[in-house]
């Protein structure tokens, strides 16, 4: 079977949607030459009206996309680095997200914000290594973080077809992932539906984005001691609470691993919701970046701030012991 890379899956999703719907168009910095490689080949196939290079004007092109969406288009905005979302948070949250409610349902704003390479790209340091998905989940913007190539394809397609704004975070740590995938079998993946990546009986590990692969590796390592179930939510907002609660109700234990800051992060929300609904056999744990973390430059420091396999392993061992 052909090996499909995560990056190529994103590229294929964009191509398929551009071909399917005339109203889809792409805009972003250096997308004509595909600096991120995600838009490779699309200019040649679809032309400069549909694959539009923008000046360095993140706030204006983000709101330009809002306006285009109000007029019936389906823009996909590519952001070169995740911290640009801080720059356009106002435009997404205060305008794109709020317009349908504030107008009493007179409009829809179907914009997709695509962030290829979110999180640490080792050595890019403080201003290029954030992973701000929890912010969008907090305000209620549909937020997806695919872990696998098939999901990268399927979630991006669904995001583009969704009538609401959707932020698609493609973690840097997942961009090089490859999988044996029959390209003809690629399908839209519904937003808001999680998946059990590995069934288990003793503890549910909720892992976000590229950390799904770490969680699977740790689960394999521990297989002779603990039976770990790995739950990949895929969409952080809306979250698949039913899917997660079904898993935790069986295992009775919970660990969340999430590569964003601890305070007010998605991991805290997952734990809060589970303990509201399920009596656990042991106190839950979360493995995250520290509170208010800024990624330091030196590779060893960068790694020290991110949740790693060792932290996850020890968190799993703790909840097993505590229970």
């Amino acid at each position: 079977m052909p090996r499909l890379s995560y990056r190529k899956a994103l590229n294929r999703a964009l191509a398929d949607e551009l071909a399917r719907d005339e109203e889809v168009f792409l805009l972003g910095e250096d997308i004509r030459v595909a600096a991120s490689n995600v838009t490779a080949g699309l200019l040649k196939r679809f032309g400069p009206e549909r694959v539009r290079d923008t000046p360095l004007s993140e706030q204006a092109f983000t709101s330009f996309a809002t306006g285009a969406a109000l007029a019936g288009a389906r823009p996909v905005v590519e952001f070169q680095i995740p911290s640009l979302l801080f720059l356009v948070f106002e435009q997404i949250v205060n305008h794109a997200h709020k317009f349908p409610l504030m107008t009493g349902g007179q409009c829809a704003v179907p914009v997709t914000y695509l962030v290829p390479g979110s999180g640490s790209r080792t050595g890019w340091a403080g201003q290029h290594s954030d992973h701000p998905y929890s912010l969008f989940a907090h305000v209620g913007v549909t937020t997806v973080v695919p872990a696998t190539p098939a999901d990268a394809y399927g979630l991006l397609v669904s995001a583009i077809r969704c009538d609401d704004p959707v932020v698609v975070f493609a973690p840097a740590g997942a961009m090089e992932v490859r999988a044996d995938v029959d390209v003809a079998s690629l399908q839209p993946v519904p937003l808001g539906r999680g998946v059990v990546r590995r069934p288990g009986d003793d503890v549910t590990v909720v892992a976000v984005g590229h950390l799904v692969h770490d969680a699977l590796a740790v689960a394999d390592d521990l297989a002779d001691q603990v039976s770990v179930e790995v739950f990949d939510p895929r969409t952080l907002y809306p979250f698949d609470w039913d899917g997660l609660l079904a898993s935790v109700s069986r295992t009775g234990r919970l660990v969340v691993v999430d590569d964003s800051n601890r305070s007010c992060g998605i991991a805290g929300e997952v734990i809060a919701t589970v303990v509201e609904r399920v009596r656990l056999d042991a106190p839950p744990r979360r493995v995250t970046r520290p509170d208010g973390a800024v990624l330091p430059f030196a590779p060893a420091l960068d790694r020290a701030v991110q949740p790693g396999r060792e932290h996850l392993r020890s968190a799993i061992q703790h909840v097993m012991k505590d229970g």
Binding site: P55, A60, F61, S63, A65, G67, L101, M102, T103, D163
Partner: protein, 321 residues
Amino acid sequence: MTDPVRLYRTVRLIRRFEERAIELVRSGHVVGGIHPYLGQEGVAAGVCAALRPGDVVAGTHRGHGHVLAKGADPARMMAELCGRATGLNRGRGGSMHAADFAVGVLGANAIVGAGGAIVTGAVWARRRRGEDLVGVSFLGDGAVNEGMLLEAFNLAALWQVPVLFVCENNGYATTMPVAGAVAGSITGRAEAFGIPASVVDGQDPEAVRAATAAAVARMRAAGGPEFLEARTYRFDAHHTFEHAVRLDYRPPEEVARGRSRDPVDIAGSRLPPDRRAEVDASVEAELDAAVAFALAGPEPDPAGALEHLYASGLTARAGGG
């Protein structure tokens, strides 16, 4: 094609709408107050008189005049200010978000400088589909210092999108005078992006209409944006909260001078007195009906407070225990 009666009627309608709305603020029916447009009516009326029904506009926090001049129903607009289910936005928007997509109003917008890029994107997308339209972004003198608006100038000029940026220079951003806020000139900002810019007397609705018509004709022919600075004056408070607090930032002589050039009188002087009286009476009747309609409207059901949040039909998780 100038129609002095229609122009006067719009100016008068906005004036009396605002005065009735202020009464409703005082009586507690409009919660949250409003940013009165009193004194600036000639700008919205003149600009929108030069537009076609299919053209789109984006307003500001001081947005009632823009919405009314573009043709929204005053009764549904008043109902919106009163937070009723019968309002333009079903009671979800209020004064600062009043929108009527059916008449090309993409909404008043409470964030200073926010409309420019939005209307540029909307016009671009519809023209790409072959529709022939132009857009107008209303903005205040305060907005010309917002970075995103300057980014929007660049995109509109670079991509040749026919958007008229109308700066209503009323001399103040809240309490900050233009002289204390704007380095260089207002029109110079547009000219820096190669956008043709002109200045018009905003107190004369006919002058505004003519300047807009000329700019729109150039935009329809050439494609790109234009900029119009309308010199105007805000007769009343920045916001009705000022009626309760005393802010001292405008010399009384200046206010008196500003009020002496009233767009209602300037437009009204172009009509025979009996015609003017007829228009006044019909506006009054329309607003009596609007207020009655607004106050009779049901309040929205609190159970649906987050209805319309998601166009896709997603529903929000409840916040209660």
